[in-house]
């Protein structure tokens, strides 16, 4: 793999394929070519991403697969990509989630398949781009570019209120980014003006350690945090999410889960290393908001009638957990967050797909109109069980490991918040089981008893769509160490750079000595 510009390939293979897909000749409603092109390109991307992941040594702290080329040298803007423990899993996950998104859309797209598949590929490429950029401007370009395919997907293929939802999504998320852009400019000028020998630069590595006053740090951090917090989203900046999710074509949501996680990842990548002091000062506030989001999202999810809205609010709760693990500034918590980002993509992605499959059969997302589906479609039920219990954090499945580590880390630094957030697990059980029980159990009535729009239980194609996600659910639950080991080094380096709130040191030393005693005696 050495020598190849792997990350560039991962970014531009889907983008180029997407553009080709948009420009395909022939009748515009013929889905064959775009399907094959889309699936082929996404599978190839996946293959390369998995090779890169395997190639990535566990425990290493450095940046690998680095690519650097001058782009606009006058301003010090460069094309700088790199993979380390923070983003390698997410890059791979984006590549993993794209083929299911395309497969799931196989029969759904009746009109304009070229546009649909092309946009999905563009979305994949831009997300990977944002995840792997190490130059602020390059990152910003991809960050904004992600919005375009998503906007077009919602506004072209979405539900009844797609125009409203797409506009809201686009404006809300890009307003936050404006301040971040200003902060980037300020940071770069501060860098080049305060260090005598410094050339202008937007490279993340140059900018880390820029001398800033406390006030400057605070304001810049807030500008970055606002952009990330809207994208994540953190309570109370989430109101675009339910609308955007419920109006977007349901198969796209698998990938949309990655889009929001770029926000969480960016905290670790940019906000914390650039502004360590402000981070340690202001993170408790964000952590408190994330905790509120966990409880609030859960309670609101429990009151939803629409499957997708319920899952959207459950995403708010899950993303609250992810945020909390980062904001707690504890390595365990942050590692849990990174793992939970993968988990959320996998579990919520699977749930969105399954909700789409149910809707494809009964023609509605309305929970109140459903019931007794378990009797009709046992395979569908089996996959739903696995995804649902993964989502509510059943021990033994992937969600548990992530949530446990997040809460464990948080418990060390923010004990009260951890205690509150743990009840989010209970609320998750309530709303997930409510969804499951109302749709699957009981007596079939209304649309769920009527003629199915699609014949029978899950088709082999649908099983193939879900299979990789379900396998990951079990794998991460049972054997998470390949994932944890790859993130550990980078997370530790990132978190330790920040002065975390003083931990319960006495207790830890007791534990540490205890550990050595045990090791000595058991051998």
């Amino acid at each position: 793999m050495n020598g190849l510009p792997v990350l560039s390939i991962l970014i531009f293979l889907p983008i180029v394929a997407g553009v080709i897909c948009l420009l395909l000749p022939g009748k515009s409603d013929d889905p064959t070519m775009p399907r094959l092109l889309g699936l082929g390109a996404s599978l190839l991307t996946l293959l390369i991403a998995i090779l890169a992941l395997i190639d990535f040594m566990p425990g290493s702290t450095g940046v690998r697969l680095e690519e650097r080329a001058s782009w606009i040298p006058q301003f010090g803007i460069s094309y700088h990509l790199g993979a380390d423990g923070l983003n390698i899993l997410l890059i791979a996950l984006t590549a993993i989630l794209t083929p299911p998104a395309i497969l799931a859309s196989w029969n759904v797209l009746s009109s304009r398949p070229r546009l649909f598949i092309g946009l999905i590929l563009l979305l994949e490429g831009t997300i990977i781009g944002a995840l792997s950029s190490l130059d602020l401007i390059l990152y910003f370009v991809f960050w904004e570019a992600m919005l375009i395919p998503m906007y077009l997907l919602i506004s072209t293929f979405g539900g009844a209120r797609r125009g409203y939802a797409a506009l809201k999504f686009f404006i809300y998320t890009s307003v936050g980014s404006l301040l971040m852009f200003l902060a980037m400019l300020y940071l770069s000028f501060a860098h080049s003006s305060r260090v005598a020998s410094a050339a202008p630069s937007f490279d993340l590595r140059d900018l880390i350690g820029t001398q800033l006053s406390t006030t400057e740090q605070r304001w810049l951090f807030l500008a970055f945090a606002l952009a990330f917090a809207i994208k994540l989203p953190i309570f109370p900046l989430h109101s675009w999410l339910p609308d955007a999710y419920s109006q977007s074509p349901v198969t796209v949501l698998v990938l949309a889960t990655m889009l929001v996680k770029v926000g969480a990842y960016s905290f670790l990548r940019f906000a914390i290393p650039l502004f360590p002091q402000a981070s340690s000062e202001l993170m408790p506030i964000l952590a408190a908001l994330a905790t509120v989001g966990i409880i609030y999202g859960g309670l609101v999810a429990a009151a939803q009638r629409d499957m997708i809205r319920l899952l959207a609010y459950s995403s708010l709760a899950h993303l609250g957990f992810i945020g909390l693990g980062i904001f707690a500034l504890d390595t365990r918590g942050a590692q849990g967050s990174l793992l939970q980002m993968v988990n959320h993509g996998v579990s919520s992605g699977a749930l969105f797909l399954i909700a789409g499959m149910i809707a494809a059969r009964v023609g509605t997302f309305d929970i109140a109109a459903l019931g007794g589906l378990a009797k009709r479609w046992p395979i569908l039920t089996g996959t739903f069980v696995l995804a649902a219990f993964s989502s509510l954090g059943l021990p033994g499945l992937n969600g548990f490991v992530g949530e446990f580590l997040i809460l464990l880390g948080t418990f060390r630094t923010q004990r009260v918040l951890a205690c509150i957030a743990t009840f989010g697990v209970l609320i998750a059980a309530i709303y997930v089981l409510r969804l499951f029980r109302r749709t699957m159990f009981g007596v079939g009535r209304g649309p769920s008893a009527g003629q199915s729009l699609v014949a029978g239980d899950l088709s082999p194609r649908e099983v193939a769509t879900l299979a990789p996600l379900l396998l990951l659910i079990i794998w991460i639950g049972v054997y998470p160490s390949p994932f944890l080991q790859r993130t550990e080094g980078a997370v530790r380096a990132t978190i330790n750079a920040v002065q975390a709130p003083a931990p319960a040191t006495t207790a830890l030393t007791v534990g540490a000595t205890a550990l050595t005693i045990t090791e000595a005696t058991t051998r």
Partner: protein, 648 residues
């Protein structure tokens, strides 16, 4: 000893085959496969026991690590098995009782058309999770088993998912248990912060290196999990509802194994609990209260399985009481005998239910003694065992607990008296069920609503479904165990059980748990009183439900208020419903329809403001060229004026 992993592997394989390829197997094969998957585990469990006993008495503990499960900076949890007499005992119970109940289920579920594959797959999965629970060598892995059995329980309670009450019961069971999980998780977090580890070895060895307040907090949080799993007050409400599952499930999960996990947790974590006297006192009182609470409700229930469910709750209360007064080995002893006689009672009830076509209401039974003789005998043996009549197993285990409640340094007279009285009540309500079911005039309708079981086999001339061999063998095996199971510990005579468990309560700390050596005059006095109370309870039941059946109805009428309160389980469900469930729903809806709108309104309002501003501003654009020209002119004039007059 490494063979122990096979105990996990076989049921897991059984689950996987049934789940993934079961559709291609014939209908009878699912149960057979699942049952066969249980057998190697049971054999291996004995081998492991032999290995363990071959070790010197004080070194009977092993930590087998399969792999490092969650390795992160400063925290580590292995996938490992902690083998000591306690976990191996549980291993034997789970695989052994599990095997016979699987066998029974083959017959019980035989005619079910659709659900067999799912049923047996989940039953195997349950065993895997339960074994993870008892074998785990650290608290985080224990939580995996803990949640896993909760999931299997959910899946099996909801076996008849098309029945609303079964679906609701499954959700309720899982949610209440998740509340317990929350408590346990917090306990584990606090444990890690305090001791820097979550594995048994390190935590227990360093148990004393923390302040009593912290230890009390940890133990209380763990207790929340134990209360939920073992159906103790105030988290007991799910257990009676869980009877909506098929009867073998009730026998295996909600009587013999899963619900005893709470007791196992207390006994396993004894080094922590010993250091938290306040927690122990709490446990003792909760246990005693649950014992009598469950027993009183059991007095008036009419569903045969519900009676047994409340009895399970009550018996688990005994075990908690024992643990609370520091008599851990007595708690485990009762866990063992209870697994035998309660599984037996459930299976016997299952035979009855099966025989008359799915009816569970005892008011619609009666006179079944000669129709299903084997169920009559089995129920009778189970009943005598639970009533504590010598020499049945329950006599020895229950008296051990009552004795400890009276005499332990942590016990007192009140706890002892509650335990004694509960014993009498237990004898009464179990035999009430016995007499209502097997004696008196037949009130059942053969061939009425076939609910969870189907028909078509072993019909006698009278339309009663006779149990097949696969259902008789488990009854016989468990009957024998319910009789002799208690003989491993006969005070002043046999001390096998205490000696066996002793290493558990000596390692891994420097101090030992108080192991009671029961016996002597006090013990036997209490034992005789308890046995007499048991006989009195049986006699009262016989008088009320066989000799003078009208009297029971009269009593119920005369004390209608009490009767209704007991029948409605002290209205605890209704209380929780209005205290927790509804407010949460209302809050959720209020947030969804209220606050969420406000937030959304704020954002949309901002957008609206911008739009209104631009609507006003756009009036400038008239579309007339000369307006623009005029503006250009004006701009130019201003520019020139600025250049002229700016003082340049």
């Amino acid at each position: 000893m490494e063979l122990v992993w096979l105990c996990l592997l076989f049921p897991l394989a059984g689950f996987a085959i049934n789940a993934l390829f079961g559709a291609r197997l014939p209908r009878r094969a699912h149960g057979l496969l699942a049952t066969l998957a249980m057998l190697p585990g049971f054999v291996v469990a004995w081998i492991v026991l032999a290995d363990l006993l071959s070790l010197p008495h004080d070194a009977r503990h092993r930590d087998l690590i399969l792999y490092n499960w969650v390795p992160v900076d400063g925290f580590s949890a292995n996938f490992g098995a902690w083998l000591d007499p306690l976990s191996v005992l549980l291993l034997l119970i789970v695989t052994g009782v599990g095997f016979v109940i699987h066998l029974f289920a083959i017959g019980y579920m035989a005619e079910e058309v659709e659900g067999q594959r799912r049923f047996f797959a989940y039953l195997n999965l349950f065993v895997v999770a339960m074994l993870v629970l008892v074998l785990a060598d650290n608290f985080m892995l224990l939580l995996v088993g803990w949640g896993g059995v909760g999931f299997a329980s959910f899946a099996l309670i909801s076996h008849y998912f098309y029945r609303e009450e079964a679906a609701d019961a499954a959700v309720k069971a899982f949610v209440v248990n998740t509340l317990g999980d929350v408590g346990m998780m917090l306990g584990i977090f606090l444990m890690w912060v305090t001791y820097g580890a979550v594995d048994f070895e390190t935590v227990f060895r360093n148990a004393g290196n923390a302040q009593t307040g912290t230890i009390t907090a940890i133990t209380l949080l763990l207790l929340v999990g134990a209360l939920a799993k073992s159906g103790q007050v105030p988290l007991h409400t799910w257990l009676p509802d869980a009877m909506a599952g098929p009867t073998p499930v009730s026998a295996l999960i909600h009587a013999a194994t899963m619900v005893t996990a709470g007791v196992y947790l207390l006994a396993r974590s004894w080094p922590l609990y010993e250091l938290a006297p306040a927690t122990l006192t709490t446990i003792a009182w909760i246990g005693a209260f649950t014992a009598i609470f469950g027993a009183t409700i059991g007095l008036v229930q009419t569903n045969i399985k519900r009676v047994l469910a409340f009895s399970t709750m009550s018996q688990l209360g005994y075990m908690f009481l024992a643990a609370g007064v520091g008599a851990y080995s007595a708690a485990i002893f009762h866990l063992l005998t209870h697994a035998f006689f309660k599984a037996l009672l459930f299976l016997a009830a299952g035979v009855v239910i099966h025989a008359i076509g799915g009816e569970e209401d005892m008011r619609k039974m009666g006179g079944l003694r000669d129709k299903v003789r084997i169920a009559w005998i089995a129920y009778g043996i189970g009943g005598l065992a639970i009533a504590g009549i010598p020499p049945f197993s329950g006599f020895f285990s229950k008296d051990e607990i009552i004795y400890s409640a009276f005499t332990s340094s942590r016990g007192n007279v009140v706890l002892g008296l509650i335990a004694l009285i509960t014993g009498g009540l237990t004898a009464f309500y179990v035999f009430r069920g016995f007499f209502l079911t097997f004696y008196g005039v037949p009130r059942y309708e053969v061939g009425a609503g076939h609910g969870d079981t189907a028909h078509g086999h072993g019909h006698g001339g009278d339309g009663i479904h006779q149990p097949g061999l696969e259902m008789r063998i488990p009854l016989i095996v468990l009957s024998v165990l319910a009789i002799v199971g208690g003989w491993v510990l006969i005070p002043n005579a046999v001390h096998l059980f205490e000696e066996y468990l002793e290493p558990v309560f000596a390692y891994p700390t420097e101090f030992n748990a108080p192991v009671h050596a029961a016996g002597g005059a006090t013990y036997w006095t209490i034992a005789i009183i308890a046995a007499l109370l048991g006989v009195a309870g049986i006699g009262a039941a016989y008088y009320l439900y066989v000799l003078k059946p009208s009297l029971a109805a009269n009593l119920a009428q005369r004390y209608a208020g009490i009767h209704r309160t007991l029948f409605n389980r002290y209205y605890v469900d209704q209380l929780y419903d209005s205290l927790f469930v509804r407010p949460t729903q209302i809050l959720g809806r209020a947030l969804s329809n209220g606050f969420e709108r406000v937030l959304d309104g704020a954002v949309n309002g901002l957008g609206y403001l911008v739009r209104e501003a631009s609507v006003t501003m756009r009036e400038v654009q008239t579309g007339y060229v000369r307006n623009y020209a005029l503006l250009i002119l004006g701009g130019a004039v201003l520019l020139v004026a600025y250049v002229l007059f700016s003082g340049a």
